[in-house]
């Protein structure tokens, strides 16, 4: 056991693992960049429509059904299916199948949390806002979104952590990222590398989770804490 951890330590202290395409800085950057891109675009796609639909109280049943179905599809499968699709589309391997898969993965939790957050706003607040003369858009932007913000951010958190996790599988479709260490390590039986890759990915995921938690708490008005009743999706 001890020798094993020594080998892992060696891997981390080996300077060649810090340089070049396969170096830690690059792979970390790739992973972070891909996460940011996919969650960013997913947020643009998912959040505004969710706010509007939730505000108008349309489509609730579909949302629940849709999220349940999306949860039933393994994230591994989403990455795998993306590959033949992007190839047929001429987009090739590597970046595109990974990006599209992660995009597809991130949208449901963001959409459902945003929807739930907006519909969960106290109807009395919305009613008094309308009564005071706020337009529908003002009601959304000044009342509903700020009150629902912690829940929306929770959706971002869930999606981001899920994306970080699934991006590790991107290595299977010839992409890079931290998953490379794990997949390549398995392939070459370099188990210390596998372990090291695991540490890096875990650190990234936990950091993201903590950062979002702090952010969520910061935007929660004092005295109001939203308990997530529905289990976080993976």
């Amino acid at each position: 056991m001890i020798e094993f951890f020594a080998e892992v330590a060696d891997w981390f202290t080996d300077p060649s693992n810090w340089q070049g395409i396969d170096g830690i800085p690059n792979r970390m950057w790739e992973h972070v960049q891909m996460t940011a891109l996919s969650t960013g675009f997913a947020a643009l796609i998912a959040i505004p429509p969710a706010i509007i639909l939730a505000h108008r109280r349309i489509g609730g049943v579909l949302v629940v059904a849709g999220v349940n179905i999306a949860r039933a599809v393994p994230s591994f499968a989403i990455v795998a299916i993306a590959l033949p699709i992007t190839i047929r589309l001429g987009l090739g391997l590597g970046f595109w199948p990974t990006f599209l898969a992660l995009l597809f993965l991130a949208v449901p939790p963001m959409f459902s949390n945003t929807y739930a957050g907006i519909t969960g706003v106290d109807p009395a607040l919305v009613e008094s806002a309308r009564g005071m003369g706020l337009t529908e858009r003002q009601t959304m932007t000044r009342i509903e979104v700020p009150v629902a913000l912690p829940v929306i951010i929770a959706g971002l958190r869930i999606a981001t952590v899920q994306v970080i996790a699934t991006a590790t599988l991107g290595a299977l479709v010839a992409w890079g990222g931290l998953g490379r260490y794990i997949i390549d390590g398995f392939a070459t039986q370099d188990i210390p590398e596998v372990f090291a890759g695991g540490i890096l990915v875990a650190l990234l995921a936990i950091t993201a989770e903590l950062a979002f938690n702090i952010f969520e708490r910061a935007v929660t008005p004092a005295g109001q804490r939203y308990e997530e009743r529905i289990g976080t999706a993976r």
Partner: protein, 228 residues
């Protein structure tokens, strides 16, 4: 008809499915086995930890914290940690899978029990229930709907994660997904990916619906209308 068949054969190979029906069935069984084992063990551990949390409130935070970290760690990373210790085995897969169920199950069990109305607890005490008997006869049965919801979420999650165990030599239906990736350029590869995916989804939906049915069967009282 032949044109469609020809175009489809560029994507799909039905004959591969019929030829490998046995393997598909075996892998499906493997998938169900890995899932049932993980959720079953996870449930037992979660029940124990939930009772601990409920009896000694201060332990709930640390327990949630630890299971939360286990949940956040990406599955691939978790398997990466376990492989050096337990090798490429069912044990590795199960330790990983069970870890993912804990947060969901514990949270749902504790929330479900907490949600039992105070007047029900008081009247039970007033009638002469001991604390232990009250937990088993009253609190737990009332919490069943919430607990089963947790089991449903955990089961669907685990069914998805079992596919990742293909990387450590198991995978259930994920085996075909991985193979398909390795043959990505051929229609056999596409077929494999599709069959692995579709059957996983069917399995997940079937499990979800069955559990929902079990919940309705176990709790006839939860579905009756309100009189006033």
């Amino acid at each position: 008809m032949t044109l469609i068949a020809q175009a489809a054969s560029g994507w799909f190979r039905w004959d591969w499915i019929t030829n490998n029906a046995d393997a598909i069935w075996d892998r499906t069984l493997e998938h169900v086995y890995l899932t049932a084992l993980a959720v079953g063990i996870g449930l037992i551990i979660s029940l124990v930890l939930s009772v601990v949390s409920l009896k000694w409130r201060p332990t709930y935070q640390p327990i949630t914290w630890v299971t939360g970290i286990l949940y956040t760690i990406p599955s691939l990373a978790l398997f990466a940690f376990l492989v050096p210790v337990t090798g490429l085995s069912v044990l590795t897969a199960e330790i990983g899978l069970v870890s993912y169920t804990l947060l969901i199950l514990i949270r749902n069990i504790v929330t479900g029990i907490d949600a039992v109305p105070a007047d029900v607890l008081e009247s039970a005490a007033g009638m002469g229930y001991t604390q232990g008997r009250r937990f088993w006869d009253i609190e737990l049965p009332i919490a069943v709907p919430v607990i089963i919801t947790g089991i449903r979420i955990a089961t669907v999650t685990v069914i998805g994660l079992v596919t990742v165990t293909s990387l450590i030599g198991l995978g259930g239906l994920g085996f075909f997904i991985l193979r398909g990736l390795q043959n990505f350029s051929s229609p056999i590869g596409t077929t494999q990916i599709f069959i692995g995916t579709i059957l996983s989804v069917v399995l997940a939906v079937a499990a979800d619906v069955s559990l929902a049915g079990i919940q309705r069967w176990l709790t006839p009282w939860a579905n009756r209308g309100v009189a006033e």
